[in-house]
Symmetry: C2
Subunit: 428 residues, 2 copies
């Protein structure tokens, strides 16, 4: 039996309390599986008096997470504070510099400072593990870094913000507008303090940057990502996409192309009968495609106390068992810096617009698409009582540049009312 | 840079050739990710002259896999021979005794000899890895053993024989009988040399025994499993289950109950709109439920050259990276031997029978169910032109014992034509 593994936890919100709960409830199980006892030594949080539903007696308390990170009586610093900089980053650096391993759920910090922290960990001979930072309880970091290590990864995709998927699927099932469901989600406490982190795609974008880094052997490059939120998705788009056999998802996609690394986090259409299309509510899904494995689909809870604590503790168990691996699966110095390739891969698109109801309107639009080299796969015009007619196109595969050229030309005509909606259709 | 990791591969069928292909194609990728070169030293197979689609020049050849396993110039013995005993078992033992790590895809060998081999590996200070033995390319062994190590696992389920799932979904989509689709599958080369390994549930049962061992900390206990194949599933069952909102799957389920370890591999009904219900064709799916993670669903190719070789090589990469873990996730000596609990957990059941078309027939059956304490949730009688009427029941949760009592009583009446069909409905 090896010596006990001693943890210090900084941040005692929902997830931190969940980790304490597992440590107290499953001490025997953890020891049986890892071959050593896993104990909590000290904790840090902002408010010492708050009731967190778990007993904190017997653990030392530090007001300052940096002081906690430097304590001699911890082996692993568990960072659950959050935020890309500030106390989270300061304390993680302090932990590595003091020779502690780090387990974190902090996607923002790693998306922005991943390479520097990985280098710092390697210099210190320590590891940084972050299973909980991506897709909650789904062990996708492990699957990608270890299980699929012999694959050239060709594409990684994910629905990784449960709040956005809740909003989109609830709009469809209840026939409510975006604003109505956004308010529901706010009332239910589903939204971050800054809701733009959720509905603007930032949170999911941080996660995609981490998956892309592992998949393609690059440093995380959040700034190179195209990000578009779900705020402009209309109930008409939800219904009309469904009518064409699709669902709208806030989908992250990362691919290596001839031009570099393409990372997109944006509302996309996916086939309604695909695993991604069938994903309802707050559940997350990650799809990994590799040259040998073909396609792997992982589905599970993307947030919540138990699932996220499960991921944090999975990392702790790896450290307890002596399973040590470089932060992004290979030495930080070997991580590439690829140029950001913006929507370079052609795709079919969904186009919705309102046409002024006069002769020749549709012919004008069709001519503009043809001139831009965008060919039409399917088209529907719906019955209407207003002065404008809703018209849908599904294009064949086209470049985003050709599509943007067509959209610009449409805006110059007198037959399109309002702004056309263009959404990529991701083939899955 | 560490020394090269040297492999010896025994068995050069589809999977073995796939492993050689990855080693040749991805040498640079493997070295970048594992920090050392991974090289093939020697191979063994029955027929040296066969064209396997990959070059074997530069590798030493051994006719006898046991001799290969003992060579001084290999570090890892990759066993892809198959079969629970014979050359596979002999060579794996020889490899461990000669101080080699073992990577194997052999579910039968581990289901029958798992504990003894795990003990032998520990004595030798070596590891046995078997990701490829369960659900092909899906890294489920890793997810369960490592990613979910902090969970008390409450249930593990899987559709893990692609041939059976192909047959069942093809029966439904094409409206063909079992015998017709079985012949199609045989013509397509989907069946094992002994088809009972597939359609009899044996192959999938071996896989379930390995998952159950890890999930519940027990030695693999294939003999304690209830196994029923899909041979008796009629097209009527497929259609009528669909009519009630279900799909029929050859589903493996393992749970720890008050009476011991319950392991079942049998045709079950699952809701048509659940991930398991939506699984079509030869794809595999494993569902893991734990107290913290709630429910995790993994979906991917369960067989084939690339996916299975991906899993084999994932294990090889772990060994190259120094990631070493006990065979079933904890020391072999600590694996429990639980009593086999046979269908001790109550469940709803689907019952289909043909009733002789005379007054009081349905009343008799309903009375028998009531006397046995089996209560009816839903019932349908279909229109009919024959002398017997097809009747379906979906029961409320009941014990298998009560159901068997009712079935025995029905057989004593003069109103049931032929043998009633009883299938468990697994709640997922």
């Amino acid at each position: 039996m090896s010596a006990a593994l001693r943890l210090g936890i900084a941040g005692l919100g929902t997830v931190g309390a969940g980790v304490v709960h597992i440590l107290r409830q499953h001490a025997a199980l953890l020891e049986a599986r890892t071959g050593r006892s896993v104990v909590l030594t000290a904790v840090s949080a902002r408010d010492r008096s708050k009731d967190r539903g778990v007993s904190l007696s017997g653990y030392a308390w530090e007001d300052d997470p940096v002081v906690l990170a430097r304590r001699d009586d911890i082996d692993v610093f568990v960072e659950l504070i959050g935020g890309s900089d500030g106390p989270a980053l300061d304390s993680v650096k302090a932990a590595l510099q003091s020779g502690k391993d780090v387990v974190t759920a902090n996607k923002a910090m790693l998306a922005h400072h991943g390479r520097a922290l990985a280098e710092m960990a390697e210099t210190a001979g320590r590891v940084i593990r972050f299973e909980a930072a991506v897709a909650g309880g789904i062990p996708v970091i492990k699957a990608l870094t270890e299980g699929l290590a012999a694959n050239e990864i060709t594409r990684v995709m994910g629905v990784m913000n449960g709040t956005c998927n809740y909003i989109l699927t609830r709009m469809q099932s209840a026939g409510l507008t975006y604003d109505q469901v956004f308010q529901e989600a706010a009332d239910l406490g589903y939204l971050e303090a800054d809701p733009n982190l959720d509905v603007g795609g930032i949170d999911a974008g941080h996660k995609l940057a981490l998956l892309a880094a592992i998949a393609f052997g690059t440093a995380p490059d959040f700034d190179g990502m195209e990000i578009e939120g779900i705020q402009r998705i209309a109930i008409d788009d939800i219904h009309q996409a469904a009518d064409m056999g699709y669902r709208i998802k806030l989908l992250g996609v990362a691919q290596r192309t001839g031009r570099g690394l393409e990372q997109r986090m944006q509302p996309c259409l996916v086939p309604a009968d695909s695993p991604l299309g069938q994903l309802e509510g707050g559940t997350n899904m990650v799809v990994i495609e590799g040259d040998a494995v073909q396609q792997l689909v992982l589905r599970g809870p993307g947030a919540g106390q138990g699932p996220t604590a499960s991921a944090v503790m999975g990392d702790v168990c790896d450290i307890a068992r002596g399973l040590r691996i470089a932060t992004f699966g290979q030495p930080a110095a070997t991580l590439a810096s690829l140029p950001a390739a913006r929507s370079s891969l052609p795709a079919p698109y969904y186009l919705r617009m309102k046409l002024v109801d006069k002769p020749g309107a549709l012919a004008k639009i069709a001519a503009i698409l043809g001139q831009a080299g965008v060919s039409i796969d399917r088209m529907r015009q719906y019955g209407h009582s207003e002065a404008t007619a809703p018209v849908l196109f599904v294009t064949h595969k086209t470049s985003r540049a050709a599509l943007d050229e067509a959209l610009a030309a449409m805006r110059q005509t007198d037959v399109v009312a309002g702004e056309p909606v263009a959404l990529r259709i991701e083939e899955v």
